[in-house]
C-alpha cells in the first residue's frame, strides 16, 4: 500500500509539472524589457544635497566604517563657514555589494541608494566613482531634511541656539535657571 502511494506521488508530481506547460514564464527579457524597480531598490549610490543646495555629507566616516567590503574612502575638510564636507569621496563600485549599510549608517541622509543598476564598464578603473560622479543636485528620498538647520553645531550665519527647535544655550556661569 505504501509502495502504491509512493508510485502515485511520482505521477502526481509529473502531472503538476506538466500543467506548468500552460503557465506564463516569469522571465523578464532584460535588455528589451526593463524590470520594475521600486523607489527603495538598492542600486547605484549617490550623495545628495540639502534643500538649500549644499552638500549634505559631513564626512563623519560612518559609512566607510559600516561598509562590509570597505569600498568607501573619504577625507574630511572644512570650509570657511565651519561646515564639514569631504575633500574627496570615492566609492569603488567593483567592490560594492549594494547592501545599503552606508545609507543606514548615514546621520545626515546624505548617502543614498538609487534604483539604477546599469553601470557596466569595459575598463575596471571606470568603476571607481569620485565625488563629482556621486554628487547629485537633488535631495533624494528626503526632501525637507537639512542637517545644519537642525543640528546644534554653529556655522557661519547660524550661531548656537539658532537651529530649529533648539533652545538658547544655557549660560553655565550663571546661577539663574
Amino acid at each position: 500500500m505504501k509502495l502504491l502511494s509512493l508510485l502515485l506521488s511520482q505521477f502526481t508530481g509529473m502531472w503538476l509539472v506538466l500543467t506548468h506547460t500552460f503557465s506564463k514564464a516569469d522571465t523578464v527579457q532584460y535588455p528589451e524589457q526593463k524590470p520594475a524597480l521600486f523607489p527603495r531598490y538598492r542600486g547605484r549610490i549617490v550623495l545628495t544635497r540639502d534643500p538649500d543646495g549644499q552638500e549634505r555629507c559631513v564626512a563623519c566616516n560612518l559609512c566607510a566604517v559600516a561598509c562590509p567590503v570597505d569600498c568607501i574612502a573619504l577625507k574630511k575638510t572644512e570650509d570657511d563657514d565651519g561646515r564639514w564636507y569631504p575633500e574627496f569621496f570615492r566609492i569603488n563600485f567593483s567592490r560594492c555589494i549594494m547592501c545599503g549599510f552606508c545609507e543606514e549608517a548615514c546621520p545626515t541622509y546624505s548617502i543614498q541608494l538609487t534604483p539604477d543598476f546599469e553601470m557596466c564598464e569595459y575598463n575596471r578603473q571606470s568603476m571607481v566613482y569620485e565625488k563629482e560622479d556621486l554628487l547629485i543636485d537633488g535631495t533624494g528620498k528626503y526632501h525637507d531634511y537639512n542637517f545644519y538647520r537642525v543640528a546644534g553645531k554653529s556655522i557661519g550665519g547660524k550661531d548656537k541656539g539658532e537651529a530649529e527647535n533648539e533652545a538658547a544655550p544655557i549660560d553655565v556661569k550663571s546661577l539663574m535657571p
Binding site: 509502495l3 511520482q10 508530481g13 509539472v17 506538466l18 506548468h20 506547460t21 514564464a25
Partner: protein
C-alpha cells in the same frame, strides 16, 4: 536503390539520428525551461535553435585535456565506445516499411546487447580517469546496468512471446490488431523505468550525480570527449524512445492520413518529451533505494508479467 539497407538509408539514418540527438539538448533546455516557468535558450537564431550550433562551435574549440595521471589509451577509447554503441543500435530499428538498415532475426537481442555494451564507456572512462569520484561513478554505472538490464530483458520477453519473433520488424507487424502497450502494460512500465536507468538520466542518473560525486564517470573529461559522452547520452535517449515505440506502440502503424514515417517520428517525439518530463519532475533516489526498487519491485513485477503472459498465451493457444 531504395529499401532496407540501401546506402541512402544508412547515411540518412546516421545523420538524422546524430542531428536529432544534438537538437535534443536544445529541446530539453527549452522544455525544462517551460515547465519551470522560464523561457530557456531563445536568443541565438529563431526560437534559439542556433544555440546548438553555438555550443558545438564552443565545444570544438575547447581545450581537450587529458590528465597526466590518466590511462591514456583507455581514456580516449571510452567516449568512442559510447558513441559507437549508441549509433550502432540505430541500425537494427525498422523505422517504416522500407526504411531501416538491417533486419536481423535476433534484432531485439542485438539491441539489448548494444545497450549493455554502452556501460563499458562509463566503466572504462571512470577507471581510466584515476579519480575517486570517477571510479565511484563507474562502479555505480556497472551495478545499475547489471541490475536493471535483468528485468529490462525479462520485460521484453512478454512482447517476444506474443509476437513470436525476435525480429523487430515482425514485432511491429504483430501489433496490427492492437499495440502491446495494452496487453503488456506492466512490461511497458518496467521497460520505461529500465530505459531511464540504462540511459543514466534523472531520476536514475546516479553514475553522474553531480551533487554527490562531482560529475561521476566523466569528471575528468573536457572538450569534445565530454561532448561525445553528452551526445551519446542524448543518442541513447532517442534510441530508448524509438525502442519503446517499436516494441509497445506499434512503430510506424497508425491511421492512413499520415505516412508511416511520420507516425514513427510523432510517437518517438512524444516519448522523448516523456523522458524530459521525467527529468523535470522527479528527484533522484538514494543509491540503495534505487537498487532495492530494482530488485524488490521491478524484478518481481516483470517475472509475474512474464508468467501471466505465458499462461494466457498457452491457454488461448496462440
Amino acid at each position: 536503390m531504395n529499401g532496407v539497407g540501401s546506402i541512402i538509408n544508412i547515411f540518412a539514418i546516421l545523420l538524422v539520428a546524430v542531428g536529432i540527438a544534438a537538437y535534443l539538448t536544445w529541446l530539453e533546455r527549452r522544455l525544462i525551461g517551460i515547465w519551470q516557468d522560464r523561457l530557456g535558450p531563445n536568443r541565438v537564431g529563431p526560437l534559439g535553435l542556433g544555440q546548438v550550433v553555438a555550443d558545438m562551435v564552443k565545444i570544438f574549440f575547447k581545450e581537450d585535456w587529458i590528465p597526466p595521471f590518466a590511462d591514456k589509451p583507455v581514456f580516449i577509447l571510452a567516449p568512442a565506445i559510447i558513441m559507437t554503441t549508441a549509433m550502432l543500435s540505430f541500425a537494427f530499428i525498422p523505422y517504416a516499411p522500407d526504411i531501416g538498415v538491417i533486419d536481423l532475426n535476433i534484432g531485439l537481442l542485438f539491441v539489448l546487447g548494444c545497450t549493455s555494451l554502452s556501460v563499458y564507456a562509463a566503466v572504462l572512462g571512470g577507471y581510466a580517469s584515476q579519480n575517486k569520484y570517477a571510479l565511484m561513478g563507474s562502479l555505480r554505472a556497472a551495478a545499475q546496468t547489471v541490475s536493471y538490464e535483468v528485468f529490462m530483458g525479462l520485460a521484453l520477453m512478454g512482447v517476444v512471446m506474443l509476437s513470436g519473433s525476435f525480429n523487430l520488424r515482425e514485432i511491429v507487424e504483430a501489433q496490427q490488431d492492437g499495440w502491446f502497450c495494452v496487453s503488456q502494460f506492466f512490461a511497458f512500465l518496467v521497460f520505461m523505468v529500465a530505459a531511464v536507468a540504462e540511459t543514466h538520466r534523472t531520476p536514475f542518473d546516479l553514475p553522474e550525480a553531480e551533487h554527490e560525486i562531482v560529475a561521476g564517470f566523466h569528471t575528468e573529461y573536457s572538450g569534445m570527449k565530454f561532448g561525445m559522452f553528452f551526445v551519446g547520452e542524448y543518442l541513447s535517449v532517442l534510441f530508448s524512445s524509438v525502442l519503446v515505440v517499436v516494441l509497445f506502440f506499434g512503430g510506424w502503424l497508425g491511421p492512413d492520413f499520415l505516412p508511416p514515417l511520420a507516425w514513427m517520428a510523432l510517437k518517438t517525439f512524444g516519448f522523448v518529451c516523456v523522458f524530459i518530463l521525467l527529468r523535470a519532475a522527479l528527484p533522484r533516489p538514494r543509491y540503495d533505494q534505487m537498487m532495492s526498487f530494482g530488485w524488490k519491485v521491478m524484478l518481481p513485477v516483470s517475472l509475474i508479467n512474464l508468467l501471466v503472459t505465458g499462461g494466457v498465451a498457452l491457454w488461448l493457444g496462440t
